[in-house]
């Protein structure tokens, strides 16, 4: 008991001591971090797997390398619809089409004539790589750290332990080097297969390199690095120090979007060579963990077990905040910094935070600068006005928290396996069954229960903001919706029931046998929310009298079921790589069948009319002709219903008052450089919001004492008894 009081007192003392130091007690950051410049606090819940631009492909990885590597192009921060502009390139490349003999064709030339298209990219002279030991040279110009001896390696435990760092000017060679890395046997780039189909000669280069690699393995014993500078890709040429050229097979206008992804960011061969040293690999110092780029930030600390810190790159080239945005941006203060030199924030600290509850609490205490809105913190943060407009709750407004919303460029859909004998196939019966289910599965309700209304029920495959998406009555899925009161209204359940009768299942029973129709829903179960969600699906099907049997499994098993075509009904999603309708319609292209070709067409939908139209549409220019093709495509898939177009989620983000220049941009990865933090204001607010409450501790101590008195009394009494 005495010990417990001591403990409580000890706790009190620690607390008091900390209180004297002047910062809030619950501040999770130690003082030194706050002093140096403007710092942004962010988090990650799972350590990124790859930071190598040739390998990284998921959003949590892009959040970091997007700030470090600079591909030739980027999306304009403010303008909508999304627009490409130059980043490490000098200007947007102009595409030229050539025929078989290498003769240039006019822009509007027929697709069949085009043998290859050519992109010539010029880069701005004078751009420097970030300071890095890989570039460090001795006075005589020799690279310092490329043949590290055991003694040199001894004191090194992280990258910052190297004494010298150098830099080098960015040249065209670096871009070409990275394209080679996409197919290198040492990197497993997720897009290598895709790019081999498009970039001329890449496939041959890969074969030759693989052969050379085997040779190299035998001869070198991995002593020196495998140099990719040898060998040429037929379609990728360095023209001079600041120019290079990429040749694409046929016509593939979407290629320009790929140039805005980190896959095409420049990579210095020195970095590759430096990190190839076994001694460094053994210390976890690899290119996959310590990026070398030209961007506004460099990765100063990388401890995936705890935190990652980005710091301002001192050699960052001149870049300015955009001068113009979309209408309304000026009023929102988004142009206040127009023309100023980027970046504004000095450090960005990413902290490991696994659970959403602590994250949310810390955001409210001011220790994180921005937060998403989880479905469970929703009611606390957001409310709708009488007219159904989204707004913040008074509690949030009191704190000066701001809200931003945007419909994401993704779609979640319920897919039917078209190879399945019951729900699949192109017979009239199956089509009606799918349409009936489409009416019954009320995604509006799903959105309101599970997403708190943060989503738009899809009328077709294209999310808003992508060319071809149409609002209004002509854009609705008239198989499932009616246009009523100026908005789409899901058709009556009676219609669905009638369709079901026509499909041969009156009241959900097979007409011949009278047996209830049982369908199978393949799902992955992971979170605590899943139970509710699966129950919901069952309820939807039960409306039609169909019994939904849920086959829940882990993600691996789910994927292999899809791969083998063993699934029947499933929910899946797609996140756009680039804002082009092709990136959505190709998910239903017959050639991309999951089972037949291992492609991305998970429902194995095959319709020759659709395929023909898609082939016409995919490489077209945005214009009336493409729009009419898209309309026809939409009509086909709405009728066939291989998917129930579920919904496009809306991203809601909250941020504190001191966090400026924030605009939701779903395409750009390098948003950080535009943003600004007012840390003085933040410190003030933090102190205001986090004054500790001591009295309960005092109360507990008193209470313990109070308990102690009778105990002491009994103790004395008992002591006397035994003494007698």
């Amino acid at each position: 008991m005495i010990k417990r009081i001591l403990l409580a007192m000890g706790l009190g003392v620690t607390v008091l001591l900390a209180a004297c130091s002047g910062e809030p007690l619950n501040n999770p950051y130690s003082g030194e971090n706050q002093s140096a410049g403007e710092t942004l606090y962010n988090s990650f819940s799972e350590r990124p797997k790859h930071l190598d631009p040739a390998r990284a492909y998921s959003s949590n990885e892009y959040a970091i390398i997007g700030q470090i590597y600079e591909p030739p192009l980027q999306y304009h921060y403010l303008k909508r619809p999304y627009q490409l502009e130059s980043l490490s390139a000098k200007e947007l490349p102009v595409v030229r089409y050539m025929d078989k003999r290498g003769k240039e064709l006019p822009k509007e030339a027929a697709e069949e004539l085009i043998a290859w298209s050519e992109y010539e990219i010029s880069i701005t002279p004078g751009t420097q790589f970030q300071p890095h030991p890989a570039f460090a040279r001795s006075n005589s110009g020799k690279l310092l750290y490329h043949k590290l001896s055991a003694e040199q390696l001894e004191p090194i435990s992280q990258l910052s332990d190297f004494e010298e760092a150098g830099s080098r000017e960015l040249i065209a060679e670096d871009f070409v080097y990275q394209i080679k890395r996409l197919v290198s046997p040492l990197t497993h780039s997720p897009i290598s297969e895709l790019m081999k189909q498009h970039i001329l000669g890449l496939s041959d280069f890969e074969k030759a390199t693989a052969k050379r690699y085997q040779q190299w393995l035998k001869e070198s014993g991995k002593k020196h690095f495998f140099d990719l500078r040898q060998g040429e890709i037929a379609g990728v040429k360095v023209i001079d120090r600041y120019h290079y050229r990429i040749r694409i097979r046929g016509k593939y206008p979407q290629f320009i979007y790929w140039l805005a992804m980190p896959f095409f960011a420049p990579m210095a061969w020195e970095a590759d060579s430096f990190y190839a040293q076994q001694g460094l690999i053994d210390k976890n110092i690899t290119l996959d963990w310590y990026p070398v780029g030209t961007g506004p930030y460099l990765l100063a600390e990388n401890n995936p077990n705890r935190r990652m810190i980005l710091e301002r790159n001192p050699l960052f080239h001149d870049a300015a905040y955009p001068l113009e945005g979309e209408p309304g941006d000026k009023e929102k203060g988004l142009l206040n910094d127009a023309g100023k030199k980027l970046p504004f924030i000095d450090r960005v600290v990413y902290i490991l935070e696994k659970e959403s509850i602590p994250y949310w609490s810390k955001f409210l205490q001011g220790y994180y600068d921005a937060s998403g809105v989880s479905s469970d913190s929703f009611d606390q943060a957001i409310e709708f006005s009488g007219e159904g407009e989204v707004g913040l709750t008074p509690a949030m407004m009191d704190k000066g928290i701001q809200l931003q919303t945007a419909v994401t460029t993704s779609i979640y859909y319920m897919g039917f396996n078209m190879l399945d004998p019951v729900v699949g196939g192109s017979t009239e019966r199956a089509r009606k069954l799918r349409q009936a289910i489409g009416i019954a599965v009320d995604f509006e309700e799903y959105i309101s229960i599970f997403l708190n209304g943060r989503g738009v029920a899809s009328q077709g495959i294209l999310p808003p903001g992508i060319f071809g998406n149409e609002e209004g009555s002509e854009g609705i899925n008239h198989y499932l919706y009616d246009w009523l009161n100026n908005q789409p209204k899901r058709k009556n359940l009676e219609v669905a029931k009638r369709l079901l009768v026509e499909a041969g299942y009156p009241n959900g029973r097979a007409r011949e046998t009278g047996k209830p129709l049982a369908l199978y829903f393949d799902a992955t179960s992971s979170g605590p929310d899943d139970k509710a969600r699966l129950n919901w699906y069952r309820k939807q099907f039960a409306k039609l009298g169909i019994q939904l049997v849920i086959r829940a499994t882990d993600y691996n098993r789910f994927q292999s079921k899809i791969r083998n075509g063993n699934a029947q009904i499933f929910m899946w999603g797609w996140n756009a790589d680039y804002p082009d309708p092709e990136n959505f319609f190709f998910l239903l292209y017959g050639q991309n069948g999951k089972v037949s070709n291992g492609g991305e067409n998970a429902t194995n939908y095959q319709n020759s009319e659709f395929d023909r139209l898609f082939e016409q549409m995919r490489n077209g220019e945005n214009g009336p002709e493409r729009l009419s093709q898209i309309r026809q495509l939409q009509e086909i898939i709405r009728r066939d219903s291989p998917w129930l177009f579920g919904f496009h989620p809306k991203a809601f983000s909250l941020y504190h008052d001191w966090y400026k220049n924030l605009k939701t941009n779903l395409m750009a990865n390098n948003r950080l450089k535009y943003q600004r933090i007012d840390s003085e204001f933040r410190n003030k607010k933090r102190e205001e919001w986090n004054s500790p409450v001591f009295w309960p501790i005092v109360l507990i101590v008193l209470l313990l004492l109070l308990v102690f008195i009778p105990v002491w009394y009994i103790y004395r009494k008992k002591e006397q008894e035994t003494a007698l």
Partner: protein, 325 residues
């Protein structure tokens, strides 16, 4: 004694081999190397070629236990099991499937785990023993009955409640400590107060009850009666005789868990975002990183067996009557 220890150490080899075999079988019955590759390669545009490349690079393209294509001893050696197991016995954990050095990661994550486990253990021990002593002192009274009921009540609450409740109360309402996070060095203290406090409070129920039984057993013994008959006060009897003699089972109970303290606690670490070893294994299972799973299981069993050995030795040290043979 030395003989005994050597024999026990040798005995570890078949044990660890067995553990390794079980881990291996369990993991590969569930996950084929193909699954692992797909998991690591991401979701979009994954081709068969990439999968087989991934496997061959990490040595998962070999047969599991028996290689028919090879000759002689290589039939066993050229297999995933052999290739992946041998290193472990030399404590060479190798690299995780996404390329990080496992030993370095373990070395780094071990300390936060220890930083929570050790204070929780010590403070918990003190609190539990004092509470148990109090209950024994007031045994057969209404106070003791309430004490036991309180213990049972505390025991009947799931560990998750303590964590969620503690964070809500101390971190969010009172704002005394950071809700979650971690730092190195002395700055870690303010992050550790809450998890340690919760660890201690959560452990009182079962701990105090267990020590109470130990003391009660001791108090029935003849020497205690003699001591009492000599006219020693109840306090003296409790503190000098009972506590001292009950120290043996208490100590040996602590020794056996000492090595396992390194392994950390999954729940606490996830909720407080403490980068310890507790969440390392589960993360690895979820990411299907077999290299980490196998290393952690191996390490865990090694420490467990080591703990058993320590217990045996500590028995002989505190109780001269016990001889190891």
């Amino acid at each position: 004694m030395i003989n005994y220890i050597i024999r026990r150490l040798l005995y570890m080899i078949p044990l660890l081999l067995g553990v390794n075999l079980i881990t291996f079988v369990l993991f590969f019955v569930v996950n084929s190397p193909d699954d692992m590759a797909r998991m690591h390669l991401g979701q979009k545009y994954v081709t068969e070629e990439a999968v087989s490349k991934w496997k061959s690079e990490r040595g998962y393209d070999l047969p599991l236990f028996w290689n028919d294509e090879q000759e002689g001893i290589e039939k066993v050696e050229e297999t995933i099991f052999f290739e992946k197991s041998v290193g472990l016995f030399f404590l060479n954990f190798g690299r995780s499937d996404n390329g990080r050095d496992i030993a370095a990661d373990i070395g780094q994550r071990m300390w936060p785990s220890l930083a929570i486990a050790l204070p929780s253990l010590i403070v918990g021990l003190l609190v539990n023993i004092s509470f148990a002593l109090l209950m024994v002192f007031f045994r057969a009274s209404r106070l003791a009955l309430w004490g036991v009921t309180l213990c049972v009540a505390l025991m009947s609450i799931s560990g998750l409640f303590y964590i969620i409740g503690g964070q809500f109360l101390v971190g969010k309402l009172l704002m005394l400590v950071p809700i979650s996070g971690y730092d190195t060095g002395l700055a870690a203290i303010k992050f550790l107060i809450l998890p340690v406090l919760i660890g201690v409070v959560g452990g009182i129920g079962s701990g105090a009850r267990w020590y109470r039984t130990l003391f009660l057993e001791e108090i029935e013994k003849d020497y205690v009666r003699t001591a009492r008959a000599k006219g020693l006060s109840e306090t003296r009897v409790l503190f000098t005789h009972v506590l001292q003699n009950a120290m043996i089972p208490i100590l040996t109970g602590v020794v056996v868990i000492l090595p396992l303290l390194f392994m950390g606690s999954l729940l606490t670490e996830s909720f407080f975002s403490i980068p310890g070893l507790g969440s390392y294994t589960i993360d690895a299972i979820n990411m299907q990183d077999f290299a980490i799973v196998r290393s952690m299981v191996f390490l865990g069993s090694l420490l467990y067996i080591f703990g058993l050995l320590l217990t045996d030795i500590s028995y002989t040290l505190v109780d001269p009557r016990v001889r190891l043979s």
